[in-house]
Amino acid sequence: MITLADYLIVSGILFAIGFAGVMLRRNVIIILMSLELMLNAANLSLVAFSRFRVGPTGLPDYNAQVFVFFIITVAAAEVAVGLAILVALYRARQTTDVNDISSLKF
C-alpha cells in the first residue's frame, strides 16, 4: 500500500537530484532546470500533505494546493527573468559557463 512516506521519499530524492545538478553542472541553463526540479519536489510533498489531511467536508486541504499554485506562478516568473539575464549575459560575454563568469569573485 502506498503511504505518505513513499511520496515524501520520492520528493526527497527529486530534491537531492536537483541539488546535485546545481552543485555539479557548470552550464547556467542546466542550473536553472535543476532549480525547477527542486521547486517541483517541494510541490509534490505539498500536494501529498494536502491529500493526507482530509477535512470534515471530506475534501482534501486546499490551502496546500493554493500554495502550489503560487509556487508555480513564482517559478514561471523566475525562469523568465533568469533566462533574460542569461541572454543579456551571453550577449556581453558569449558564454553560459559559470566558470567563465568570475568578475565578482574575490
Binding site: 500500500m1 502506498i2 503511504t3 505518505l4 512516506a5 513513499d6 511520496y7 515524501l8 521519499i9 520520492v10 526527497g12 530524492i13 527529486l14 537531492a16 537530484i17 536537483g18 541539488f19 546535485a20 545538478g21 555539479l24 553542472r25 552550464n27 541553463i29 542546466i30 532546470m33 535543476s34 525547477e36 526540479l37 517541483n40 510541490n43 500536494v47 501529498a48 494536502s50 491529500r51 493526507f52 482530509v54 467536508t57 471530506g58 475534501l59 482534501p60 486546499y62 490551502n63 494546493q65 493554493v66 502550489v68 503560487f70 506562478t73 513564482v74 514561471a76 516568473a77 523568465a80 527573468v81 533566462l83 533574460a84 539575464i85 542569461l86 541572454v87 543579456a88 550577449r91 559557463d97
Partner: protein
Amino acid sequence: MSPFLFWVFALLTLIFGAAVVINRNPVASALSLVMSFLGLAALFMSLNAYFVGIIQVLVYAGAVMVLFLFIIMLLDLRAEEGRQINWLASAGGVAVALILFGQVFSVINHFAIARKRFPPLPGTTIDDVRNIGAALFGNYNLPFQIVGVLVLVATIGVVLLSKREPR
C-alpha cells in the same frame, strides 16, 4: 491509485530527473525535464489533485519548457565538449546531495504518522477548480494580487533586460 502505477510514474520522474543532470547536451536535458514533469503531473493526479496536475502539464511541460528550448536554440548551445571535469568538486557535490537526502530520509523514517495510509476521500474532487478558485479569491485574495504585481514586475524586468542598449 494502484502501487504499480505509483512506482512506474515515480521511477519515470526520478530517472528522467537524473537524466537532466547527467546529459551533456542541453536539448536532451530539456526534453528529459519534460518527461520528468509529465511523470510528476501523473503523481499529482494520483493524489486527486487534478487541477494542479493539469496546470503542471500546461505551465511547466508547455510554457516553461518551450522557453528553455527557445533560449537553447537562440544561443545555439552545443554539448559541452571535453572540458575536463573537476573530480574533487563533483565528488563534493554528490556527497552533499547524498547527505541532504540521508537527512530527509531519516526525518521521514522517524515520522510515524507518515506510515499510515491516505484517508478515504468521501467528497468528490471533480470540482477541484471551483474549490481552489474559492480559496484563491476568498482567503488568499491579497497574496493573489501580490503575485499579480510580481508577474507584472517580472514582465517589465524581462523586457528591460533583453532590450539592446542604444550606442
